[in-house]
Structure formats: structure tokens, C-alpha cells
Amino acid sequence: MLSSSARRGAAVLLSAAVLTTLSACGAAPDKAAGSAGGDGKNKTQPAAATSVADFGGLEGLVAAAEKEGELNVIALPADWANYGEIQKAFAAKYPKVKINAENPDASSADEIAAVKSRKGQTRAPDVLDLGIAFARSGAAENLFAPYKVTAWDQIPAAQKDADARWYNDYGGYVSIGCDAARIPNCPQSFADLAKPEYKGKVALNGNPTKSGSAFGGVYAAALANKGSFADIQPGIDFFGRLKKSGNFIPVESTPATVEKGETPISIDWDYLNAGYAEQFKGKGVDWKVAIPTDGVYAQYYSQAINKDAPHPAASRLWMEFLYSTEGQNLWLKGFARPVLLPAMTQAGTVDKEAVTKLPQVQGTPAFPASTELDKAKATLAEKWDKALS
């Protein structure tokens, strides 16, 4: 008798406790919201500005950003495409805008999760550096603010969203990094990788169902083996064969494994491989970078502004900086190819010395369509495990 009423009492108390805590959690961050609304009188509100003209020119944008005083960035590793120097240059140019860098090693999925879970909070990320699939899905979910940077017209049409909710910023080619101090003949193509002399030597930068560069590696291998953007299966089969022959090692290549010599051949973005070459000069690692001749695949990362950015003007200023000649050349210095490289080459504003240091590649990059990319990913998620185990 007692126990049944006791049970009910306990249940009620517990639910009450849980509900109180839940509502408390939900209520707390609301205070913080709306502190950065901007006070545009005749001008457009910063959060609604779609180009620098809405601020009355760059000075107006700088003034509005300095008034906000802060910028939240996420997922920008200092040793990735020169992001460390880019943040320093921005801070030096606009000392009144403080950069709050969060979780440098976050993935695109983490960034989108941060946007969603911290909607309306002052610590939500302002700007996002995303893999193309997440830029597209985020735009479809209406998470980004449309904004056309000054250089908008110079971004190739294939590399931007027509509504300016995201656009590509920097990227590179799938490349084969190789430690010439350990490997007598460095492989130049995917076909080379299958040779018996590379047994136990070939690695990817992670698992292609998770890592963007490893996914690019499989895509490039598909193109090298009679596949297409719509058909990634030959790439999966190629790595399946490498696994069987013992050439492929599933360990994720990192600066540590490269330096140790555990991943003497690593398929990765050319800007990361070129960075390793610089980093490990004189440490017993002679890192050579080759863009495979048979499977050329380029991929760019995209920038987007959080629609509910707590610092809407600062986020737009950051975008203007990234797509300025200065910002684009900083990426180039990190061996990444900025999206405005063709335009800047034509205009003669490009850092020519940095261009000569890039791994050589023929032709212009092609990009898969949204549907092709989705199909390739679905195939990969379904077939990768089986091919590799």
C-alpha cells in the first residue's frame, strides 16, 4: 500500500526536478541574446546587410565591427592553410575587434551543431569554414546570412551559392606526399601506388567516411580508375585492392606519423603535404609532393556567415578580409589555392613567389554536382567497410 503511493510520490518529485532543471537550462542563455543588434538609423541593420554598400562603404563596416568589438570563429587550426597567420593579420589590422577562436580542430558537423545549439547566444560562432556538403545542407536549412563580399563577381559561378549564402574560399588538389629519404622512387600516380615496392607504405588522412581529405583521395582514385564524379566505386575498389596487397595502411596520417616515418606515403590535400615539407625540412624527412597525373581532384572549403551571428558586422568584416587581396595571398602563403587566384593572376595582384611554391598541376579543376556528391557519399558509406575489411 505504502509503496505504491511512495512510488507515485517519487515519480512526481523526480519529474518536477527534471523539468525545473530543464527549463532553467533553457532560460539561462536568453539574457545574452540581442546585445549586438546594431543601431543602423538610415543604414541597414548589420544582420540584414547583404554587401558593404549597406554600411556605406568599408569605413562604415569597420566602424560597426569595432563597435561590436568581438568576433567568434570556430574550427580554424593554426597549422591549416596558414589560418594562424590569417588570424594574426586580421587582429593587427583591426585591433579593436577581438577574435575568440574556439575548438580549432572541430569538424564541419561540429560547426553546424554549434550554430544550431547556441542559437541566440553571444558565444555562437559568427563565421564558419565548412566542407562543401555542409555549406549546401546548412543553406538548405536556412542557417546562413546572404552576403556578397566586394570580390563576389570574381568568384567563379561554380564555386558559389547563387544566393550568396556560402562561397568557396580556398582549396587544393589531392596529392601524394612521399618521404624521399625512406622511399627510393616516389610514386607519381595512383597506378604507381599499387606497385609491390610500396607495401605497407600508403596512408590516407583518416577515414573517408569522416575526413574530407580522405574522401577526396578516394574520389581522385575513382577518377584515376575509370570512375566518374557520379561513380566512386572504382576508387573504393582501388583501396580495397591496396588493402589486400598490403600496400594500404589504415593508420591516419598526421604530422606525428609523417615525422616518425610510419606513413611514408600519404594521400592528402596538396597544401597540407606542402606544409609538411616545410615543417620537416632538416628533420630527416624529405617530403616530396606530387599531384597524381591520373586522378586530378580539387576541392574547396566554403565560408558562410551564421544567420544569427552575435556579431553581424564583425563577421562581414572578416569575410571582406578573407576575400581581399591580402587575405587571399595569406592562404596562398599556406600553400592553399585561394578561390580568387585566377582573377588575381590576371590583375597581377597575386604573390608570385608563393605561386611558384605550389605543386604543379595541369588544367582547371572540375567539381561534382550536388547530386553526384550525395550519391558518391552514399556509395562510400555503404561500401567502404566491406572493401577494406
Binding site: L2, A10, A11, A109, R182, A256, K260, S389
Partner: protein
């Protein structure tokens, strides 16, 4: 909205099942209330969120949420099912091997007259049982990886050794699971009184007969508990495997990480939650096997 309406149900059942135990008198549940509230908050709320996410779908554009069995179905198909099976196989194998090794080492330590050996073994076990994740993976890579020191010296590759495989992963897991087993079985072995062994010997029992009829039955609950602990530890391990084998040994924790925080697959969050729910169910099943067995063998100890 719908999240908050489902929560009272889950906490309600949690409260109900705990008060069903009436052994200690009618009013004692009051004293347990803080613990129950804590448990409900720290386990009930996340569990509710996982279960809710696993069976619903939110349309990204309209924001409408509807119930669906699609995520759970997908989590039990194709590569996801393969990863669940892979995880169970790896956990069961490593827990079994580490369990046997751990008991043998613990028995050697307990019966050894050297106190220094006992102290050293227990200290080392305490340290090694907590040595996991990426540091452990890298230690193995540097030692017995393809260009590792020992691999080069002893030509392990020629002998068929490959660190980046199911076997390799098993060895790495044993490295932290065996010490854990030593830690949990030494107290149990200490409790095995020497008089019992002497009594058995006086009655003409062989060593084997002593263990078969006295030692193992008495130890069974602790050994089973140790096995369940090892299984759970191996089942939930993620970082070591992620650094070592990437996607080439399918494991459910790796799949969840791929789906939740990747740069490639989009919109997989709910499948990850469904996989999490599957893991909880499997852990629950293991406990469900363990509890009645433990109760049965615990009779010997009264």
C-alpha cells in the same frame, strides 16, 4: 516541446522500478532520493534525449518533428549492423582473453610470498589500466607499427604481424584490459581463504578438484563482474581504435563519431543516436545475462 513531454515517462518508470525493492522497510526510499534524482538527471535525461532523437525526424526546413522508425532500422542494416557485430566480437574476445590472463596474473601475485612483486604489479596495473586513447595508440605505432622499433629489429612483418588489423587492435586492447582485470580480481582472490584449500587437500582433493568445486564457484560472481566490466570498457572505447585502424575494423563507436562529427556525411545525427541506443540495449543485455548468473553463484558466499 515533445522532448519535455516524453521525459516524465522515462523518469517515472525509473522511480517506479527502484521503489519496488522493499527489503529495507517502507520509508527508506526517502534517503535514496538525492541519489535517485541525480541518477534520473544524469542518466535519464541523456537517455531520454537519445531515445527521442533515435525515433524522430525533424524536417530541416519547416522544423516539424515526426516519429519514424527509419533511423533504428538503418542502424541495424548494412555497415552499421556490421559495426555493431564487430564491436561485440572485439569486446567479447578481448574481455575473455584479458579476463583469463588477468586472473592468472592476479593468482600469481596473491600466492607469491614477495610483497614487493605484489606492490609493483598492483601499482603498474593501476597505471596501465588508465593508459588508453591516442597516447597508447601512438606508443604501439612507434613500437610495433610498420616502421616501429621492435618490428624492424625482429622482422615482425615477415612473421605476419600487422598492427592495423583486428588482431592488432585486440593486442592493444589487452594492454589496458588485462591490468584492469588484475585490479578487480586481486581483492576477490584475497578473500579465498587458505583454510578452504587445506580442508580440500585434507579430504584428498586434487588442485583441479579444489578449483572446480570450491575456488571457481566462490570466485564466479567476481569473475563475471570483471568480465562485464572489461566488455563494457572495450565496447565503449573509441580513441585508440580511431587512431589505429580508422575505418578498416568496423566498430560502432567509430561509426557514431563519423556520423556526429565528420566532414563528409551530412544529416546522420539521428542514425548516430539510434546506434547509441543500440549500444545501450546491448550493454543492458549483457547485464541481464550477468545479474541472474551472479545471483545464482552468490549463494555460495552466504
Amino acid at each position: 516541446m515533445s522532448a519535455s513531454t516524453t521525459l516524465p515517462h522515462s523518469t517515472g518508470t525509473a522511480g517506479g522500478s527502484t521503489t519496488r525493492r522493499r527489503r529495507r522497510g517502507p520509508r527508506t526510499w526517502l534517503a535514496a532520493l538525492p541519489l535517485l534524482a541525480f541518477t534520473a538527471l544524469c542518466f535519464g535525461v541523456p537517455l531520454g534525449a537519445i531515445a527521442f532523437g533515435a525515433v524522430t525526424r525533424t524536417d530541416p526546413v519547416s522544423g516539424a518533428t515526426e516519429a519514424t522508425g527509419e533511423h533504428l532500422a538503418r542502424s541495424l542494416q548494412g555497415p552499421y549492423l556490421g559495426s555493431l557485430i564487430g564491436s561485440v566480437q572485439l569486446s567479447a574476445l578481448t574481455a575473455l582473453v584479458a579476463g583469463v590472463l588477468g586472473v592468472l596474473i592476479a593468482q600469481a601475485v596473491v600466492t607469491s610470498p614477495s610483497r614487493a612483486l605484489r606492490g609493483a604489479t598492483l601499482t603498474a596495473s593501476g597505471v596501465l589500466a588508465n593508459f588508453g586513447g591516442v597516447p597508447l595508440a601512438f606508443a604501439f605505432i612507434a613500437t610495433v607499427g610498420i616502421s616501429g622499433v621492435v618490428t624492424q629489429l625482429a622482422d615482425l612483418t615477415g612473421l605476419g604481424w600487422n598492427l592495423y588489423s583486428f588482431t592488432g587492435l585486440t593486442v592493444v586492447y589487452l594492454y589496458f584490459l588485462t591490468p584492469l582485470m588484475v585490479l578487480v580480481t586481486v581483492p576477490a582472490l584475497d578473500g579465498l581463504r587458505p583454510q578452504w584449500r587445506e580442508a580440500a587437500q585434507n579430504n584428498g582433493a586434487t588442485g583441479w578438484q579444489f578449483w572446480r568445486h570450491v575456488g571457481l564457484p566462490v570466485l564466479a560472481p567476481s569473475l563475471l563482474g570483471g568480465f562485464v566490466l572489461l566488455f563494457g570498457t572495450a565496447f565503449a572505447a573509441h580513441a585508440t581504435a580511431a587512431a589505429l585502424v580508422g575505418g578498416s575494423v568496423p566498430l560502432v563507436t567509430l561509426k557514431i563519431a563519423d556520423a556526429l562529427s565528420g566532414n563528409v556525411l551530412t544529416g546522420q545525427e539521428n542514425v548516430a543516436l539510434a546506434l547509441g541506443l543500440d549500444m545501450i540495449v546491448i550493454a543492458g543485455l549483457v547485464m541481464a545475462v550477468y545479474l541472474p548468473l551472479q545471483r545464482r553463484s552468490a549463494r555460495w558466499l552466504r
